[in-house]
Structure formats: C-alpha cells, structure tokens
C-alpha cells in the first residue's frame, strides 16, 4: 500500500484541467495513489495544527468571527487551499494534501467515541470556515456535485403556507426561495424553530441552505468514522503506521487542557461542617443559591445535586465528608430514604458507582448552556436564569455583608442585560473582594474573567490565604472599609 520515496508529482496529474476540480470536498473518496511514509505523517501533522487551534478557540469561547480569522491564518500557514481562480498555484497538490491529511487523521481519530466526537466538531468547523469564504459560483458548483436530497418548494405550495413561512423567518422577503428536506437533516434549525415543519419536512429558506450542507458534512463524517473504526483492526498488520497514528491522537489530546479537573491541593481537607462557612466567604452566586436552597428546603433536585456536588468534590470535599454533608442537609429524610435514593447518586459523582468515571465539575459554559432548569429547579446560572428583580434581591441579600451595595447593581444588571453573564459574575467577585485590594478590572487575578465556579472559589480562597498569611492585613483592611 505504501511505497517509499516517489516524486509526488507525475502520474497523478491529468493534463487537461485539474484532478481535484473543486476546493470544497465532502471527502467521500479516499486518495488511492501511492505516498511516502514521510508525506503520510507530515500531511496529517499540518492539518492537526489547524484542528487543535480550532479546538482551543472553542475552549476559550471565542466568538465565531474571531475563530474564523484564526482558522484562516492557520490554514494559510499549514494547509493552504486556493480557489480555482488562483491559476499560478499548484492547486492539485494543495488539494491532494488536504484530502490525504483528512483521511490519515480519520484513521487516528476513529478509535474512541470521544476522539470521534472532537474530530467531527473540529473538521466540521474547518469545513464551515472554508465554505463561508467560497464564492457564490464555487458554492453552486459544489452543491451540483453532491446529492443533497433537497427539493425546491413550488410557487403554489409557497403561496399556501405563506403566513407560516413568514412567521418562521420574519426577516425573509417575498422572493425567498425555499427547499424541502427531511427535518432530521437540519436539526439545528429545528431546535431554534427557524423553519416551518409539516409532516416531517422542513421548509428551509435559501439563506439557511449552508445549514443543510454543514449537517450533511457532519453526518457523513460521523458515519464514515464508524466504518473506519470497524475496519481499523484489519490494518494493524502494517506496523509502520501504528506508532504514527498513536502519536497523532496523543497530540490531539494534549492540545487541549482547559478542564478544571484536579482537586485544589491546599493540604487541608474540607470537612462537612466547614462548607457553610466557606460558602459564605468564597462561593459564586450559583453555588450560594444552591447552598441556600439546600439549607432552606433540605433538598435539591437532580441537576442541583449534580452541579453542587461536583463543585464540592473539586473544591476538596472527600467522599466521606460529602456523604456526611448531604446526609445532614437532607434532614427531612430518614436514613433509609437517604441511602436508597441519594447515596448512590453522590457516590456516582465520585466515580464509585456505575461507569466509575472521574467526573469534573461543570464549567460556566456547561452551566449556562446545558440542562436548562425546569420550572421548579434551582440549578443553573443566577445571572442568566433569574428574572432581573429576583437577581437584584438575591445579590443584595447574599453579598451585602461582603460589601456589595445598591449602587453597584445598575452596572451589574447592565452586563446581565447584554448577556455577558461571565462578566457580571466577575464584577461581583471584584466588588466582594475589594477589601482584599481587588480593583475593578483585576478580575479573579491578572484580569481573567470567571469561566468556572471552582476557579472563582479557588481565587477567593487564595486571596484569603495570602492576606491571613500577611498577618494583620485583613483586619486593617476592614477598619479602613468601615
């Protein structure tokens, strides 16, 4: 299958026109020509640079515009891919490298569910960036080349559902073209109610057409990866490839490390009875709210227990202390009820039951985006999930003892209105830690904003340690404040 050194040009070149006529590809045909082992590896590594950069953009929550610029510059550096109009460039060999790199990485990342998921996300994003910078004719040509399974909506049908189509996309005009596809091909548009649905068909306006293309790309890639995973064991006999592939997937995993998973090792264990005091001094609003709810109702619903329990675990509460803490908090329940209904759940969080996974605490992004609180839930992010007046009251009652006053509220509420929940939370941190000399703009240390509740608590505790370590600073600060 693989032969050593041969000139990359030569026999693959078709003299009239290009062997790879289009810049965009759904990667439905693997490359069949011979390549060198060195090329096999270098194509993949170059592409991996781009994918890692995309992943880290997601981890840092960069807006799509920024992500696009970063991806483009990375692409130009590692895997340039020019438009058909760039006749001076060797477009065929660029495209060949693009396709080869993609297929080699498929081999490296089909092994586990987790790797597949991350690979699909990064690849789909890369495709999206490239698609969006293509010209109109380039896109049309690409649509022609793929069987997308969409049917244009007839004028008569458009007339019949005129009002519904208008209501589904209020900014569309009269001349808008619509396509009919199975709703399962555009789940993201369905989730946002951006399309009109009838009998399982989604009526997609042409401006949302890219959505269908991206979804198609993603679905095909997911299926292909599963196929590859099944076929992979038969390839293992080629011992030259195995170390390269293993190395590549390692690189992908190491490229990203923003998860707040390690316990804060402060040398002291947190005992159940300390949680209350820590909560008053160091917890962000979401955890304060869960703590208050737990103390008041002696109960939290499932996602509340999950959000708070994992937070406490990462904070450094051991499993034994956690069981004591939850047992005390659920005082309305008998031992029997507690053991039956909740103990398993808590042990599960610590990886002692079920899948035995080492769960990490939820980040702000997860709290904001996943598991939306239902009508009687108390988890979530207060800045996002409280109504403004409740948030105002909650902030005042929770943090007034730490120096938050009525006068601070307008600024916080403005940030909340702008949907910058992280920033609002960071601002509250700055205000409540003003007596430790934290100033506006300092964030939780060197200007960083809050992206994880544990990061908030860790920063707060570190400040306290620094100030008690420095002797009288804290009490002095207090006197000045009063």
């Amino acid at each position: 299958m693989l032969k050593s050194s041969r000139k990359p040009d030569g026999e693959v070149r078709v003299h009239f026109g290009l062997k790879y006529p289009r810049r965009l590809s759904l990667y439905d045909r693997p490359p069949t020509e011979d390549i060198t082992l060195e090329e096999f590896e270098s194509c993949a590594i170059d592409r991996l640079h781009v994918l890692c950069e995309i992943e880290s953009c997601y981890a840092r929550n960069r807006p799509f515009e920024e992500l696009k610029d970063i991806t483009k510059s990375q692409c130009d550096k590692h895997v340039p891919l020019d438009h058909n109009t760039a006749t001076t460039k060797d477009r065929d060999s660029q495209r060949r490298k693009d396709v080869t790199g993609h297929f080699v990485l498929r081999l490296a990342f089909c092994r586990s569910e987790e790797l597949r998921r991350r690979f699909v996300k990064a690849e789909t994003t890369l495709f999206r960036v490239r698609y969006l910078e293509s010209s109109h004719s380039e896109r049309a040509d690409f649509h022609q080349s793929v069987d997308f399974d969409w049917t244009p909506v007839e004028e008569s049908e458009k007339e019949m559902y005129k009002s519904q189509l208008k209501a589904a996309g209020p900014d569309a005009d009269e001349k808008e073209q619509y396509f009919k596809v199975k709703w399962t091909n555009v789940p993201d548009l369905v989730a946002k109610r951006k399309v009109f649905l009838k009998d399982g068909w989604a009526y997609v306006p042409s401006k949302e057409q890219p959505s269908i293309v991206f979804q198609e790309f993603q679905t095909r890639l997911e299926q292909a990866l599963e196929m590859t995973a099944k076929a992979l064991p038969r390839m293992d006999e080629d011992t030259r490839l195995e170390p390269i592939l293993a190395n590549l997937s390692q690189g992908f995993i190491a490229g990203l490390g923003s998860e707040w998973s390690t316990n804060e090792n402060t040398g002291e264990d947190i005992r159940a009875e300390m949680v209350d005091e820590l909560a008053q001094k160091h917890f962000p609003m979401c955890m304060r709210n869960l703590h208050e709810n737990l103390t008041r109702n002696h109960h939290l619903k499932h996602f509340g227990r999950l959000q708070y329990g994992l937070f406490l675990k990462v904070l450094g509460v051991s499993i034994d202390e956690a069981l004591i803490f939850w047992r005390k908090s659920f005082s309305g329940h008998t031992d029997d009820q507690f053991n039956k209904h909740y103990k398993y759940n808590i042990r599960h969080q610590y990886g002692l039951e079920g899948r035995r996974a080492n769960y990490t605490a939820k980040s702000c992004q997860q709290i904001l985006m996943n598991d939306q609180p239902g009508a009687s839930d108390s988890h979530g992010c207060p800045y996002r999930h409280f109504s403004p007046d409740n948030l105002r009251t909650a902030l005042l009652t929770t943090y007034s003892s730490q120096g938050l006053t009525e006068a601070d509220l307008p600024e916080i509420m403005n940030t909340v209105r702008a949907e910058a929940y992280h920033v609002a939370c960071t601002r509250v941190y700055e205000i409540t830690h003003a007596r430790d000399n934290v100033r506006k703009g300092d964030g939780i240390g060197s200007g960083e904003t809050v992206t994880h509740p544990n990061q908030y608590a860790a920063a707060s505790r570190a400040l306290e340690r620094a100030s008690t370590g420095g002797g009288k600073v804290e009490s002095d600060g207090d006197i000045v404040m009063n």
């Binding site: 586990s112 569910e113 009002s163 519904q164 189509l165 209501a167 589904a168 996309g169 209020p170 900014d171 709703w183 399962t184 789940p187 993201d188 369905v190 989730a191 946002k192 109610r193 951006k194 009109f196 649905l197 009838k198 009998d199 399982g200 068909w201 995973a229 039956k340 598991d371 939306q372 609180p373 239902g374 009508a375 009687s376 839930d377 108390s378 988890h379 979530g380 207060p382 999930h385 409280f386 109504s387 409740n390 948030l391 909650a394």
Partner: protein
C-alpha cells in the same frame, strides 16, 4: 374507595403478573411483528424488585420467557429501555464499545408536579379530576403538533399511574432518531423555560430589529388551541388569579408599570375578586391605555401569558436520550396500585384518574368471574375491566404490524 389505593402486596403483584398482565400485547407492540426480532430480543428491560434493588440489562427471546422471568422476580414495576447492538443480557461479554443503543421509541413525560406553580387544587403527588385538565390540554396540543409537524402516526399515550402521562412514538423514523435529533425535536417543542426564580418562562419570539416579533408558526398554532382552555381552566376552574400569590405572579408578566400599579391597587383592596373579572380588568386597562395601532407589544405579552399558563410542560430530559428508561404500560404504580393504562387522546377529557382500575379491584373482578365456566383459551384479562385498555394496545400494535407487513410485500420482488 381509599382502601383500593393502598400499596399492593407482593402476593397481589404475583397474581397480577400470572393472570392479568398482557405480556403478549406488550411484546407485539415492542416487536412490530409476530416472530421475535431484534426490536424485542435486543431490548433492555429493567426490574425494580420488592426490596428496591434495581436490576438492569435484562433481555428476553420470547414473550413467554419475558412472562416467566417477570413472575419469578415479581418486581414492583419494570421499565423499558432501548434496543442495543447486542443482547443486553450479554452486555458483560461484548466489547464495551460494541454495546450501544441504536433504536428506541421517542418518549415524552408530562408530570403534574411541573404545574405546581399554577394549579390551585392540589400540589406535589396529589392529583384530581380538576388538575387533570392541564394534562388534557397538554395531550391535545402535543398530539396534534407531533402528528402534523413531524408526521408521526403511531402514538401511544399511557397514564403513569399517579400524576402524569407518558407518550410512546413507535414510527420507524422516530425509533432511529439520534440523541442530537431528539434534543432538537424537544427544543422545538419546549416553550416553558427558566427556573423557579424566573417569572417570565415563555421567550420564544424571534427578535427582529431588537424587538420580539410574531410567534413561530408551530407555537401560533398551539396558541389558537389554547385560548379556549385558558378561559375554562385557568380563569374559571382553577381560578388561578383569585388569591394574592396568583395575581401577583400575573402582574409580573405585564410589561407596563403604570397598568401594573393601578391594577395592584385595585385588586389588593377587593380581595376575592374572581380571575375572570381580573382578566377583564386587565383587558380594559390595556384598551384604555393603548390605541389599537400600538397595542401589539401588549397583545404579545398577553399571548405569552396564555402560553405560560397552558402550554404543555414537558420533562425534557426523558425525551433527549435513547437510553432513558421509562415505566412499561400496564405496570402497577407501586404507591397507588393503579394500572398504567393506555389512553385515547380523543377522549382525554373524559378520563378520571380516580376511576382507573387498581390491581386489587381487578383481581376481585377475576375471582367473581371465575365461578362461571370458561370457554377455550382466553386470557384472564378479558374478564375484567382491564379489557378495553388491552384492546387499545392490541389495536395500536396491529397498526405497527401492518406497516411492517406492507413494507415486506413491497420490498419482496422475488416471484
């Protein structure tokens, strides 16, 4: 009959499984044909035993084996999970990666506890004919939406035995939905969102030039269905705004502080003014303060209120994952002893949760009936008031089986 709604004893449960539980019908419904297919043999059934031990990953090759094992374990209830790539009972012998859920009915769960903020007659685990009204409305809206918008036809509604209702959708296209697609579908249908501390739980309007615009078509359609029930149920029957905590909640949803202040003064001084009158007060206040041309924002606020008080409140997590387990139809609710019977959505308003047969009652009927001579090979449930409900499941299963048969005929072109 309060004695009827007691916790059923293990002896009662065993007799129920031996003589009454319609294993055959449940098998046909899950399997879509007479001969066992993967839809049944690779299906997870999980049992909750009498001592509250939870037994997962059971699977069976035939309906008879299913019955035999159920009688041997005598669980308080059992739940149905997804169809996996391998038999669930062989789970330990297959590679972990090779054991994944592939198919599953699309399920929904509506629970009365999610209505605790608005219902006035009961709370928590209690339910009465009056609060069932909310479920009735939810069923009609959801049933219509799923049939018309998603085009699914094989919907089975099942009473959960106490305070809620389940929906099982068995269409082929629905069975194979991925978790992502399920999540999208649920988001499409979810309208009530935001936690306990959020007053306005309806935020579904697309923003046009920074202002909320008209409702998406699916929700507009639901709203048209909900205006009537809002009057009958929320204003009349439940009288949601009569008491102070009720009308205070309502006022929080009105975006005009002047109107709110006026109404607050008026309603605080006239305690016990019925909801109907308060609703008219609100309407009058709006028509007095706004000319018909610039009434649109207020009209939108009112529409959102109607949605908040009547739109189905779905337990979203149940529907989003293929591997979520849901209590099987015809199980006995372990607290009330009532059977989880299928319901006809067309006649949902006639349904009274207090009249659902309990396991004790059914076995009583059976004892009374067996004194008469029996003819042939009939199942015992035919002699009890469980019959109409089993017939309903049978009919539903037949519908599914005829689809499979038709497919087979059209695809079989060998002569």
């Amino acid at each position: 009959m309060p004695s009827d709604t007691e916790k059923p004893s293990p002896e009662l449960m065993l007799a129920f499984y031996r003589r009454l539980y319609p294993f055959k019908s449940v098998f046909k419904w899950l399997n879509h044909e007479h001969t066992p297919s993967r839809l049944f043999t690779h299906r997870e059934i999980s049992f909750t035993l009498q001592n509250d031990v939870y037994m997962r990953y059971n699977s069976f090759t035939t309906a008879d084996e299913f019955k035999k094992q159920t009688c041997a374990l005598n669980p308080t209830r059992f739940e149905i999970g997804p169809v996996y790539t391998a038999r669930p009972r062989d789970k330990k012998t297959v590679r972990p990666g090779a054991f994944t859920p592939v198919q599953r009915e699309l399920v929904f769960d509506i629970d009365m506890t999610d209505y605790d903020g608005i219902r006035t007659c009961c709370s928590g685990a209690d339910i009465c004919k009056r609060c069932w009204g909310f479920i009735g409305v939810a069923v009609r809206v959801l049933d219509g939406a799923i049939r018309q918008q998603f085009g699914y036809k094989h919907l089975l509604w099942v009473y959960s035995g106490r305070r809620g209702i389940h929906l099982w959708i068995s269409d082929r296209e629905a069975m194979v939905l991925t978790d992502d697609q399920r999540r999208s579908l649920v988001n499409f249908l979810m309208v009530i969102q935001g936690g306990k501390e959020m007053h306005k739980k309806v935020n579904v309007r697309p923003m046009v030039k920074g202002r909320p615009s008209v409702l998406p078509p699916s929700i507009q359609q639901a709203l048209d269905q909900l205006v009537g029930p809002f009057g009958d149920l929320v204003l009349q029957d439940q009288d949601c705004f009569r008491r102070e905590e009720g009308w205070k909640e309502l006022l929080k949803l009105i975006p005009d502080s002047k109107i709110v202040a006026n109404l607050e003064k008026k309603w605080a001084s006239s305690e016990d003014r019925p909801s109907d009158d308060k609703w008219s007060d609100l309407r009058d206040a709006i028509s007095a303060a706004y000319s018909p041309d610039d009434r649109a924002p207020m009209k939108r606020a009112i529409e959102d209120i109607v949605l908040q008080y009547t739109y189905p409140r779905i337990d979203a997590e149940v529907s989003k994952h293929r591997n979520h387990l849901l209590k099987a139809p015809f199980c006995v609710h372990p607290k009330t002893g009532r059977i989880c019977v299928p319901l006809d959505p067309e006649r949902i308003d006639e349904f009274d949760p207090d009249l659902v047969p309990t396991v004790g009652q059914l076995l009583g009927e059976l004892d009374a009936a067996t004194s008469e001579p029996t003819e042939g090979e009939h199942s015992d449930w035919e002699k009890t008031s469980l019959k109409p409900y089993v017939d309903m499941l049978e009919k539903h299963a037949l519908g599914l089986m005829s689809v499979v048969r038709k497919d087979r005929i059209t695809s079989d072109m060998t002569w």
